[in-house]
Amino acid sequence: MTSSAPNSFRALPDPDGHFGNFGGRFVAETLMPLILELEQAYKDAKADPAFKKEMDYYLRHYVGRENPLYFAERLTEELGGAKIYFKREDLNHTGAHKINNCIGQILLAKRMGKTRIIAETGAGQHGVATATVCARFGLPCTVYMGSKDIERQSPNVFRMRLLGAEVKPVVSGSNSLKDAMNEALRDWVTNVEDTFYIIGTAAGPHPYPEMVRDFQSVIGNEARRQIMEAENRLPDQVIASVGGGSNAIGLFHPFLDDKGVEVVGVEAAGHGVHTGKHAASLSAGKPGVLHGNRTYLLMDDDGQIKEADSISAGLDYPGIGPEHSWLKDIGRARYEPITDKEALAAFKLCSELEGIIPALECSHAIAQIMKEAPKMGKDKIILMCLSGRGDKDIFTVAEALGVEL
């Protein structure tokens, strides 16, 4: 499906929210007026210098930006090839990149006069980030979370409750992230007057994929400037893990028109792509329509959505943001699968060599670097998004390693 290269890879979506064949607005009619209202409000906010100023203020003073671009010297030595840099999103307030987007969306919600916030969460990172900004801005918050995820991410559930959010367990379907998203959409369709839905990833109906990408692009914009300062040149490769794909698109987008920069996304291959128990929608799925957009999905021959499987609850989703689907199809980015086992090995290696406990999500990207960096020359540079800290994952990892805490 490769088409001729466009003049710019950064010009989409089109006015109807399409990235090539992907994206769109596949939602129930009840939600359409809300989505159109949101689109207009976002356009207005984007054009308003006061909005940008407000956003910058909170990113700096509340989130703690800018965060460092860190040279992972010992990991680089160990792998013996390309120089490896980490964009340290783990050092943000709440410990992950998710808050960048939440700040943007809650400021927009306030602008629109909305008085109630809902969100879905998988690993709980987006739920925590949403609960955090809701506490800060004084809005009531309801977070939908699959009952399976509530079990495996109990520290984050408690965190959300401490922050004053109501965490609603979702027991429909497969009890995980996709079902939490269904339930959040059901809430929204019921509470159309006052509610703003803060979607956590660069997916869903237009304008969410564009809006979330824009809010997360602070990652790539900073990283681009920082690598120029550190190395006086652009990296040879930018790499990030993809679940829905918001940290990845945030890192990638500012580099898409830099022809010399290779773009690599890393998917969760769970027990292995061949086993059918994975979350690798780009490697093993096909285009379909779910949660408001057309994108690569895991499904059966009848178009029924399959359950995803990954040790990382944050990647455990059977779809992917539509812009990634487009980048894959036109060949601007490549996407590689990494298994639970490989991610665990990377989690350990990074902890031991760098003194950084990475989230299981971005451990997938580290695992891909372990494969690629040794084959690259020492003059090459890899820039990775270290999207979150791994403290939340210690129970999962301990269990996988057979350690009793």
């Binding site: 939602v27 129930a28 007026p33 429909s172 159309v192 178009g303 959505i305």
Partner: protein, 282 residues
């Protein structure tokens, strides 16, 4: 050429013309294809017209029915667990058409299973099976090129959902490219939730009438014969879904399997609802 290939718009138009002649509103009943299993749902389907259904909405099961409440979600999952899929749904319609040439059948569901089937092939097969129209919840007019336009070109109706959020600005866009009837979702919410008041329905009907001459069916939250009768006083048809599907659930044994009461419990409720609708304007 069999009767099954009569253009779908005709069958719906004829049915509403007949209702008008009889001076009453119609009853639109929803069941999920394959719920609780393909055979039982086929039995229920065949008995619906006799029980008083004027138009039938047949749900196409989907794993992620985002606009549906628990009752219809569970019906979808029961059907899928019993091995239901799109080809079987169409074959159930074909079986129904062999014996009933007049009752319109509208397939209702979500876009992905149709998209994966292939739009052109799906429309061909649906039309040949005797389907009259489609309601696809996650295809607003902004996505008309996907399925709505090809459906209308095929001679089938594409029935649109209008909602309390559909204002005078939005409605012209909604009634464009639509045919058969307009479905008014009387509350903002998922299927099976609360119902709208009479005043709200009257207000909405007035708004809709300013924008379309098509018949208007009103649904969401109608559970009893009395509620159906109230709606039937205002609208051209009353739609009942979750309450009927809940009867299926109620009738199952402890293993979730159909019992000999399943079909009769469903048709029993449909009979009550039909009574309500038929006597509403008397």
């Amino acid at each position: 050429m069999s009767d099954a290939i009569i253009g779908g718009q005709d069958r719906i138009a004829k049915r509403f013309a007949k209702l008008k002649e009889e001076g009453r509103a119609g009853l639109v009943t929803f069941i999920t294809a394959g719920d609780p299993d393909p055979e039982t749902s086929f039995e229920i389907l065949k008995q619906l017209p006799e029980a008083g259904a004027d138009i039938i909405e047949l749900g196409m099961p989907f794993t992620d029915p985002m606009a549906d409440g628990p009752a219809i979600q569970e019906a979808s999952l029961r059907a899928l667990a019993a091995g239901m899929h799109m080809r079987k749904t169409l074959s159930i319609v074909r079986g129904f058409r062999d014996q009933d040439h007049d009752t319109p059948i509208i397939l209702m569901g979500y876009y992905n299973p149709i998209y994966i089937y292939g739009v052109a092939e799906f429309l061909e097969d649906a039309r040949n099976a005797g389907v009259d129209g489609l309601i696809v919840v996650d295809l607003p007019p902004e996505e008309d090129a996907e399925l709505c336009i090809p459906t209308v070109e095929k001679g089938l109706s594409f029935i649109r959902l209008t909602t309390p959020t559909s204002d005078d600005k939005r409605l012209p866009k909604l009634v464009q490219n639509t045919s058969g009837f307009v479905y008014y979702v009387s509350v903002a919410g998922v299927t099976g939730a609360g119902s709208a008041s009479n005043e709200q329905i009257v207000e909405a009907m007035g708004r809709l009438r300013r924008h379309t001459d098509l018949p208007i069916a009103v649904g969401f939250g109608i559970k009893t014969a009395a509620q159906a009768a109230d709606v039937a006083k205002q609208a051209d048809a009353a739609v009942v879904g979750s309450a009927i599907v809940s009867k299926v659930a109620e009738s199952l044994d402890e293993n979730g399997k159909a019992t000999d009461k399943t079909a009769s419990m469903v048709t029993g409720l449909v009979r009550e609802l039909a009574n309500g609708v038929r006597n509403a304007r008397k």
